[in-house]
């Protein structure tokens, strides 16, 4: 099967994929170029992809005036702190599940996996009441805490941990290494790619999270980026919308998560395609 494809087939494939890539990227391209367009330019027909002028300085000033720093900061706090804390909790659990096996470990895993089958959204009303009773409503702490039980992360890390050669663990145990040392020096280094993958995935989800935060967070200074962006649009109303500002705000919301994704993509895409061996 490894024979080289004929040049023409390869060229066609590239052409096809370029077309698809353009379709998938088009909304982003339009969004970015829209920053520099006037409302008339955005709605004019026939469409022009490129704007007449590039008022970069005005765009930068407008970006500063949006006041999105706070939303982005909140999204990063929840995305980074929340995800790191989640990884600690889930790694400990999964380590115990895979390497400190007891009679009920397998049953426990399937029980936990069973909860993944359930849509978390149906727990929103009771979770809201529980957070209210803990005085954690309208706090980022409450948001981070309620995102800790990440069953997908357990599922994904377990797949990866199970491939860790058991001989290393046994050898370390014979040498008298504690669980902490085995976890830190053997299991974590060998599962780096899975850990990165889960980190980037969870970060992206937390950063973008919209429904649950907009239910449990009310104070504007605690909004995550999606909520802040939404608020911004509502203020202007559908008709008075200044499209170049809308495009600017959307672009600013997207840039941080794109940067994190680009930094992590080497781990991330290979991670999903290679470790996700489903048996």
């Amino acid at each position: 099967m490894n024979q080289r494809q004929p040049k023409i087939v390869s060229a066609l494939k590239h052409l096809l994929l370029m077309g698809f890539s353009f379709v998938f990227l088009f909304p982003f391209i339009w969004m970015f170029l829209g920053i520099f367009k006037t409302n008339n330019e955005i709605w004019q027909q026939p469409y022009k992809l490129l704007p007449e002028n590039y008022p970069v300085r005005e765009a930068l000033e407008a970006a500063v005036n949006l006041g999105f720093e706070n939303y982005i900061l909140n999204s990063f706090i929840v995305g980074i702190l929340g995800t790191l804390l989640m990884l600690v909790v889930v790694t400990l659990f999964t380590y115990a599940l895979v390497f400190v096996r007891g009679r009920y470990s397998e049953a426990l895993f399937y029980l936990v996996l069973g909860t993944y089958m359930l849509p978390s959204a149906v727990t929103y009303v009771p979770s809201y009441i529980i957070l209210a009773n803990m005085n954690l409503l309208d706090t980022l702490t409450g948001l981070i805490l309620s995102n800790l039980p990440n069953v997908f992360a357990v599922f994904y890390l377990r797949q990866s941990f199970k491939k860790t050669s058991i001989e290393y663990i046994e050898a370390a145990k014979i040498d008298g290494a504690s669980h902490r040392r085995i976890l830190w020096h053997v299991v974590l280094p060998l599962n780096k790619s899975a850990l990165y993958t889960v980190f980037v995935l969870t970060f992206v989800q937390q950063y973008n999270n919209y429904m649950w935060p907009s239910i449990m967070i009310n104070s504007q200074e605690k909004y995550l980026i999606s909520q802040g962006l939404r608020q911004f649009f509502i203020q202007d109303g559908a008709y008075g919308m200044n499209w170049s500002e809308v495009m600017l705000a959307s672009t600013i919301a997207i840039v941080p998560v794109v940067i994190v994704f680009l930094l992590g993509q080497k781990w991330f895409i290979t991670g999903i395609t290679e470790d996700s061996g489903l048996k």
Partner: protein, 289 residues
Amino acid sequence: MKKETMKRFWMMSPFLATLGLFWIIPLILGLLISFTDWDYISPNFNWVGLYNYRDIVTDPDFTGALVNTVVFGVGTILPTIALGLGFAILFKNKFKGSRLYQMAIFSPWITPAVAVALVWSWIYEPDRGYGNFLLEFLGLEPIGWLHSSDTAMLGIIIFTVWKSVGWTMLFYIGALERVPVSAYEAATLDGCNAWQRFYHITLPLISPTTYFLMIINLIQTIQVYDQIQIMTQGGPGGSTTTLLYLYYEKAFQNFQMGSANAVAVVILVIILGLSVLSTRVSQRFVHYE
């Protein structure tokens, strides 16, 4: 031996505690609330038995939302799986630039729905939007997109497929790479053409991934909220109100907690039912090595 049990307990307890607090207890509470007439504001409530369930099944809003959810689910999951597999096949055998194309197709998945929904609302604008421009270019009639109850769901479906197909594609790329080359070689020797190889070898060997993706997409699709809230708010005329959106409206706009949680329980039962059904089907069609 006992020491190990204690250690295991300590390592597992943080996760299990939060799982209990934000998953298991809420599930039980949700079920209990569905048998009450609680309105969230007053501290008192009455047990009303199955009243909420009887009430919602006769409510046209609920049956409408149920139909919308099925339309949305089928309309999203089938194209996502088919396109995801199609893209993955194009990426078979790594080649120069394949990573860049993969990132382009995956990029919508990582971006906040709120941000991209705005550009899409321009694409869907009935008078001067890009969608109708394309339709007219292809010689088709322009449509009302999100402004018409006939086509609003189509608009949400296209957006959702665009946003989520990259995720499915990545899993399929991995699955295709794990199909042993020897299987194809044997089939080629037996005189199978490309289509026969795909149908008799690739499809059966990647069926565990297909099964997994069906379930994952099912769970994710049933929970879609962001784009509906931003682009249509369930309208026009309730045509994009899914069960989850109905749950949200009942619980957090009308404070009908009992009724809302009855909808939640129905969502749960549907997912459980479909999961069991697809496991049954998978036992016939999914090939594990």
